[in-house]
Amino acid sequence: MWSRESLEAMGERWTDRVQRVRDAIRPFRRRILMFLAVVGPGLIVSNVDNDAGGIYTYAQSGAKYGNMVLWSLIPMTIALYVSLEMCSRMGAFTGKGLSDLIREEFGFRVTFFLMAAILLVNLGNVMAEFTGVFWASENMGVSRFISVPVAAVAVWVLVVQGTAKWVERIFLTFCLIYFAYVISAFLAKPDWLISLLHLFPPHLMQYVPGMKQVVQVPKFNAEYAVILAALVGTTIAPWQHFYLQAAVVEKRVGPRQYPTTRNDVIVGSISCMVIVFFIIVCTAATLYANGIHEVTDAGTAAIALRPLAGKLASLLFSIGLLNASLFAASILPLSTSYVVCEALGFESGIDRKFREAKIFYALYTSLILLGSFLVLALGKFAQTILLWSQVLNGFLLPPVLIFVLILVNRRDLMGEKVNSKSFNWVAWISTAAMIILTLVVAYTSIHELFTHPASQTR
């Protein structure tokens, strides 16, 4: 029955079928590839967002204020989308990076100081990433004096060797660990209705009849302002704008591919915020509800994952944190040195030899070296590093957004694609809100520093 002929005939039939399927999908293959080529930067940018500083900030805000910070997520999603969309649009229609445009339109000196600020703030971010490594490893029982140097060397080598693109994909896949928070949030059985109601500003909701008993209204003080600023700073980070626009230019996104990129940015912003929502709800239900109001180390933060992983929560959290930290640590120093060198006209790029691009490599190396060294030296201030690096992001954001807004409204650069009036309103209002928040934080923390010098570390 199973003669050789019949097997061969069957084999042939199968190859024939496979061939027919292949022929059938051929016309679409090109389109699918094109879609994949364009989709990505928006998603990457928003995912790197949930890095060590991010996870800490979300966990801390959930632990400290429970549901009371949730209302900021919707305006933040809008601000994130609006600001990133402007950059991707500029990239697609001018074909130039953000730092290039700032240099060409505002001159050398302005660019220099902006770049110096970015360098400083991103050093803070790199420190936050290595703090993530430090927390994750100590939680798994490895001393930070081993893990942080190893991580620093690994990141440096991977990126310089050019294997980073490949590793990037692994990290991106590991980002699925964030879904652990989603599941954990469901298992913790929070009161979903109350959480959802807190998506609207409780300050207003309390005046809605019948809501007064349900919503909690946060007291607005320095601590609350710092948490809000850190939330904004970690979700809408200045470096994202530079990274996204450079990626759009590098991927050769033109006016024709632009709609796909915009979708990518929408998907990225919303998915990022959905995850943030679940992280905060999850920590609110596990930490805040149980009276733990301060996230002091990875162990505390990991409690949030207990409903899902039980005893393994701590391990799961550590892996997630390590992944997020390494992912961001492999992107941040590189993109920072790239942006700075491009703006100031130094040779840049990993494909250049060390001799050709000395400054680029020097910047890249010292960001990693200094970042990891400072984390080792300042180990006991880990919490302060994590929170304040995000607050500094928030400080730098308004100037960057102002540059973006001026550039995107220039008709000689953007032609018909300048902002619409309503878009401009949203953008300027969110910028103004961030400036006010920044000033409040600056004022209150200086005020507090002078009145209670002891409480400066939070």
Binding site: T94, K96, E104, F108, F112, G254, R256
Partner: protein, 412 residues
């Protein structure tokens, strides 16, 4: 004495009587007149209308001070002029092409030198500074004392490009014409280098360069560019010009470009191309890019397999062949069917009367146009091929795939 654009900016200008006229806010080169001479100085004073001093109205220049040899009333008022190159607006912080170093760089400062001509002083641009000294000056000018800046500058490694090697990139074609910006120097570069340079520029600038190159160079550059960029550029070109460029390209490269365009645009361009070439490209477009047919080139050399070596060489001399790329010849038998291939090296060493059929390479290899590209790669790898013939169902050769087609596919 030498000085830089940054030092000159803000210098105070005094007229023949020693009265203050205004500060230098901008200065212009008029390339149509002289390519490197600073032809006009824009002098501004408070809310007065800015005045313009011509090069022959300047008696002496030093950093911070300009003396004119005419009274203030002899100066003209400022009218914007497209033919003037504004040094700070059009040059500082902008990207230029360094044609000697073959790359795109950003201008930090512009170096000027003084030149005495009968009775007045002219400034000439010597080089553009793209290195650290220029950066330091831009940062510190007006903040730190002049001596300190100069001292610092002397310690920093210089990176500068002589003015004659500077190629400006101006996207607007009218302005380009008025500023006498030509791309002759770019045409001397290797197309692959030029393609690298173009990839660093913005779309508008790329468009500007391609449309001003001659068709042959443009075709060579487009063939080297990233496929997505090529599509973007061709889409925006004037159809007639695009068709002229496509005509210069090898049919397979042209088909690749057209394959990336929309059906209508591609059809429109094919209409513009001469009949025979358009026909060849049309045939190639029928094939999927991921098959042998999509990779092949219909432009190949074929001769009868019964011809003698000398006959063939004589015939080849009369043809216009691309000698740099030719290394294999296709043989046809009496029925116009594929009979084999002969490498040029074997042809070279064969005796004059030898019949080509005897020189055939073994094994006899060919593929059908619908063969998958991966099968093609395997054949090239296994048999160390430099060329593979594509034949139709009747065994008639349709085209050839050369090793460079394979390499460029694999690199993508």
């Amino acid at each position: 004495m030498a000085m830089t654009a940054t030092e000159l900016m803000g210098s105070k200008a005094y007229d023949a009587q020693g009265n203050f006229v205004g500060k230098v806010r901008e200065f212009f080169v008029e390339p149509a007149d002289q390519p490197n001479r600073v032809a006009h100085f824009l002098l501004a004073r408070g809310s007065f209308q800015p005045l313009v001093a011509r090069h022959d109205q300047v008696a002496a220049i030093e950093a911070g001070k300009i003396e004119l040899n005419v009274p203030e009333r002899a100066l003209g008022t400022y009218e914007p002029n497209e033919g003037w190159l504004a040094v700070t607006k059009d040059l500082l912080d902008q990207q230029i092409i360094d044609t000697s170093g073959r790359k795109v760089v950003r201008v930090n400062d512009v170096d000027l030198t003084e030149q005495r001509t009968n009775g007045n002083v002219e400034l000439r641009i010597t080089q553009v500074d793209v290195g650290l000294p220029g950066a330091a000056r831009r940062l510190l000018q007006g903040i730190a004392p002049q001596r300190l800046i100069r001292g610092l500058q002397n310690r920093l490694p210089t990176r500068a490009i002589r003015w004659e090697f500077v190629n400006l990139v101006e996207p607007d074609p009218l302005r380009r014409l008025k500023l006498r910006i030509t791309h002759e120097k770019l045409e001397d570069l290797h197309p692959a280098d030029l393609a690298d340079i173009m990839e660093e520029l913005s779309p508008a600038e790329r468009q500007g360069i391609i449309s001003s190159l001659d068709e042959e160079t443009a075709a060579a550059v487009l063939a080297e560019l990233d496929a997505r960029l090529t599509t973007q550029i061709v889409e925006k070109l004037d159809p007639e010009k695009a068709a002229d460029i496509l005509e210069e390209m090898a049919p397979d490269a042209a088909a690749d470009v057209l394959g990336g365009l929309s059906k209508e645009t591609s059809e429109e361009l094919l209409e513009e191309m001469p009949g025979q070439e358009a026909e060849e490209v049309r045939e190639l477009l029928e094939f999927d890019p991921a098959t042998a047919g999509g990779m092949m080139n219909t432009d190949f050399v074929f001769v009868g397999d019964k011809s003698q070596r000398d006959e063939v060489v004589e015939w080849m001399k009369e043809q216009e062949l691309n000698l740099d790329q030719l290394d294999t010849i296709v043989l046809l038998d009496g029925g116009a069917q594929f009979s084999g291939t002969v490498s040029v090296a074997r042809l070279l060493l064969a005796s004059p009367e030898q019949i080509l059929k005897e020189l055939k390479q073994e094994p006899l290899l060919s593929v059908q146009p619908n063969a998958d590209e991966r099968d093609v790669f395997e054949l090239f790898d296994k048999y160390n091929l430099r060329m593979l013939t594509v034949v139709d169902d009747d065994g008639r050769p349709l085209g050839v795939i050369t090793v460079d087609d394979v390499v460029s596919k694999l690199v993508k």
